[in-house]
């Protein structure tokens, strides 16, 4: 079986903010979609299908919003799929869309993910108790803090590493016009002095709640040949899932994440990710997840991830830049966050990332995860097409 190569030829984002009270949900998604189409210099008529993703419907209080959004996304008369894989959904949505092209079912697909958190309350949406289930009354932070603590215990990482990540990502965000948090007066001391929320996670080491959308136009080889700007080529993509809670689960470095990365590297012919990959957009909603995922994704040996962070390797001008855009720590429209990682990776591979561009980035990883660290989706994109 030979698959059709998949190219990213259009990318659009909204300026992410705490509350977009000036637009409806439809207005928000349309803004990102139009920007992606403009980037690709295509019109709605060029789109064969729409694949949309978002995190739980409870976040906006709209059940199956793709039905209502069909008109706003030019989907009338076309196939429209709605993906939901928890926090990894933005990445999964892009992969489902890419597969439509790879399988030669469609030539050109619009994919979009969004969250308009201001319409409701995500903490509430995440904390609905149901009988015979562990209640998650403290939102995501309460769930993940113990795993961060386990990582610190396991690796002996000094408790300063988390603040370094937050300080870096918030500075990177200043170079990204679409990022939500633009903290011009950010200092490392301010991060370290911020209130403790879920020990060891401080206020400034957590992601904001954002309204925002991200869209991409994916197309086949023929579509890429017509693209006005350099495309990013998908070199590998995979999803992996494992159960939420069971005795054998390693919540610090889940097997599903390792397997997912291994599958992507195999597809892309990556032997040594640390050497062969130029930059990474990874899903880091709480700062400590940078060193944790560095290990899980094979960029560092077990217990060594924090040393890369501490040595400045993951800085924008480091040897392996991570979250050049400012990452989830600076922008978190939950359902869109995964797709933003994928899209920012593609922007880098296209050389279109502006002030936060990594010079000479040729192979870039986009990463997303969700649920209780149980759903993973990743893609590796490059500036050159995959070998025929």
């Amino acid at each position: 079986m030979s698959k059709e190569p998949v190219a990213v030829v259009g990318i659009g984002q909204t300026k992410h903010v705490a509350a977009r009270r000036d637009v409806s949900i439809a207005g928000l998604v349309r803004e990102a979609a139009v920007r992606a189409l403009d980037d690709a210099e295509l019109t709605w008529a060029d789109i064969d299908a729409v694949v949309i993703g978002k995190a739980p419907d409870f976040f906006e209080g709209v059940m199956m919003p793709e039905l209502y959004l069909a008109d706003a996304l030019g989907a009338v008369g076309k196939p429209m799929l709605r993906v939901h894989t928890a926090g990894s959904v933005g990445g999964s949505t892009a992969l489902v869309a890419a597969n439509l092209v790879a399988a030669r079912v469609h030539s050109t697909v619009l994919t979009l993910a969004f969250e308009k958190q201001s319409e409701s309350n995500a903490m509430w949406g995440l904390s609905l108790p149901i009988p015979f289930q562990q209640p998650l009354l403290a939102g995501a932070g309460g769930f993940f803090a113990p795993h961060v603590r386990a990582y610190m215990r396991r690796t002996g990482a000094p408790d300063t590493v988390g603040s370094l990540v937050a300080y870096k990502d918030r500075r990177n965000a200043l170079k990204n016009p679409y990022a939500h948090l633009h903290e011009h007066d950010i200092t490392l001391e301010k991060v370290q002095a911020s209130p403790m929320l879920w020990d060891p996670i401080r206020y400034s080491e957590t992601c904001p709640s954002s309204d925002g959308a991200c869209a991409m136009v994916l197309t086949d080889r023929a579509g890429a040949a017509r693209a006005p700007r350099p495309p990013a080529w998908m070199l590998g993509g995979a999803m992996r899932s494992e159960p939420t809670l069971f005795a054998g689960k390693d919540a610090v470095s889940p097997q599903a994440g390792k397997d997912c990365a291994a599958d992507v590297y195999r597809q892309a012919g990556i032997a040594d990710p640390r050497r062969d990959i130029d930059a990474v957009e990874m899903y880091v909603p709480f700062s400590w997840y940078e060193p944790m995922w560095l290990e899980n994704l094979g960029f560092a040996d077990e217990g060594e991830g924090w040393k890369l962070t501490e040595a400045g390797v993951t800085e924008l001008d480091g040897d392996l830049p991570v979250n050049m855009s400012g990452g989830v720590l600076s922008t978190n429209p939950i359902g869109a966050s995964g797709m933003i990682r994928f899209a920012e990776a593609a922007l880098q591979a296209r050389g279109q990332a502006g002030e936060h561009q990594v010079e000479g980035a040729r192979r870039v990883l986009g990463h997303a995860y969700g649920g209780g660290s149980q759903f993973f989706s990743m893609w590796l994109v490059g500036s050159e097409p995959p070998d025929a």
Partner: protein, 354 residues
């Protein structure tokens, strides 16, 4: 088509189908407990183990469970260890099958498990479904699913496309099924008006249930099933959301999906339609050009059992099962989503020539 010709697509088939009983209330079991026997059943039919499945995809909806991320719990029931390649659509399972079909087409997997489930019993389904309407202009008015279907039925009657006796006959025929999984069967009174012109007999029962299928590609399908139901085509299309801009007596999205799926290339002998209301069967029969010679909904269809999120997948499963049993050679299956048939999927299934 570009100059470098694309290779022939792979043949993919439904090789197994299982479903639960559809029940008015399943308060004694969780969603996962409702789903588990169905998963065991469908896997056992093929002799596969969970670890042998190349891709898993499910369809469900948080709003029925009343809880965010409700599908994550079902994954535990699948036994996703070692980790599996898996995805989920917040749609009817028929669309999960579509995603799995494209995954197999791309060659990434040779087999796929597709499942879907929904419990309507914890809430008031008519109220819950209002939450899928335009959240700013329509949902605040709480127009319920039966009222919207009644608008469509009245439009059909006004257009002379049907009348109440014909609708009653559709209801009676649907429930005259020997499907042991059906919730409503046998002589069911047409009942009083629920929302004019629809009587209770024109409306689906509210029920809880689950369904699952296994897909396989090429020779793998022949190994797993004596008479695979080959998917000759599958396509889905969506229409505008607002009822005011649609002709409710027609279903252009169904027609287009059927065309793209190749449904009109040769006649079908069976059609499993996801028509939740008698009046919707009238619309679908016209869009799909189904004559009286076609066996429509021998399973009873959604009028006999309508588990939300699983009913569409069950239509594909029921059509495939008829091919497996040698009762059909070419069958059409249809699934729908949204108010008044807003989004429609059509699959065409064939058995090997006999």
């Amino acid at each position: 088509m570009t100059s470098d010709a694309a290779p022939e697509p792979r043949d993919i088939a439904v090789v197994a189908f299982a479903q639960s009983d559809t029940l008015r209330s399943t308060a004694e079991v969780s969603e996962v407990e409702m789903l588990m026997p169905v998963l065991h059943d469908v896997i056992a039919q093929t002799g596969l183990k969970t670890a042998d499945i190349g891709f898993t995809c499910s369809g469900s909806c948080d709003y029925l469970a009343g809880r965010a991320f409700s599908f994550t719990l079902a994954l535990d029931g699948v036994g996703a260890w070692p980790p599996i390649s898996e995805s989920h659509v917040e749609m009817d399972g028929a669309w999960a099958l579509y995603e799995a079909w494209t995954k197999l087409l791309s060659g990434d997997a040779d087999t796929a498990l597709v499942y879907a489930y929904g419990k309507s019993s914890p809430g008031s389904l008519r109220d819950v479904l209002t939450r899928q309407l335009d959240p700013y202009y329509v949902a605040p008015l709480w127009p319920d699913s039966v009222a919207l279907a009644a608008l469509q039925a009245q439009a059909l009657i006004d257009a002379g496309a049907t009348d109440e006796p014909e609708l009653a006959a559709i209801g009676a025929r649907s429930r005259a099924t020997d499907n042991p999984r059906a919730q409503l069967k046998g002589p069911v009174p047409q009942g009083d008006y629920l929302v004019r012109p629809l009587r209770t007999g024109d409306c689906p029962p509210v029920g809880d249930g689950a369904a699952a299928v296994v897909l396989a590609a090429g020779e793998r399908a022949r190994e797993l099933c004596e008479r695979p139901a080959w998917i000759r085509g599958i396509d889905h299309r969506i229409e505008a959301h607002s009822l005011g801009v649609r002709d409710l007596t027609d279903s252009p999205s169904t027609r287009l999906a059927a065309e793209r799926a190749g449904a009109f290339e040769r006649p079908v002998d069976t059609a499993e339609l996801h028509a939740s209301f008698t009046s919707q069967e009238v619309v679908l029969r016209k869009a799909l050009r189904l004559g009286d010679e076609v066996a429509v909904n021998p399973s009873g269809g959604a009028l006999a059992a309508n588990p939300m999120m699983a009913a569409g997948l069950a239509r594909i499963g029921e059509a495939a099962a008829r091919i497996h049993r040698g009762e059909s050679d070419r069958a059409l299956a249809h699934a729908t989503s949204g108010p008044c048939l807003q989004q429609n999927l059509v699959a065409v299934l064939e058995g090997d020539p006999r």
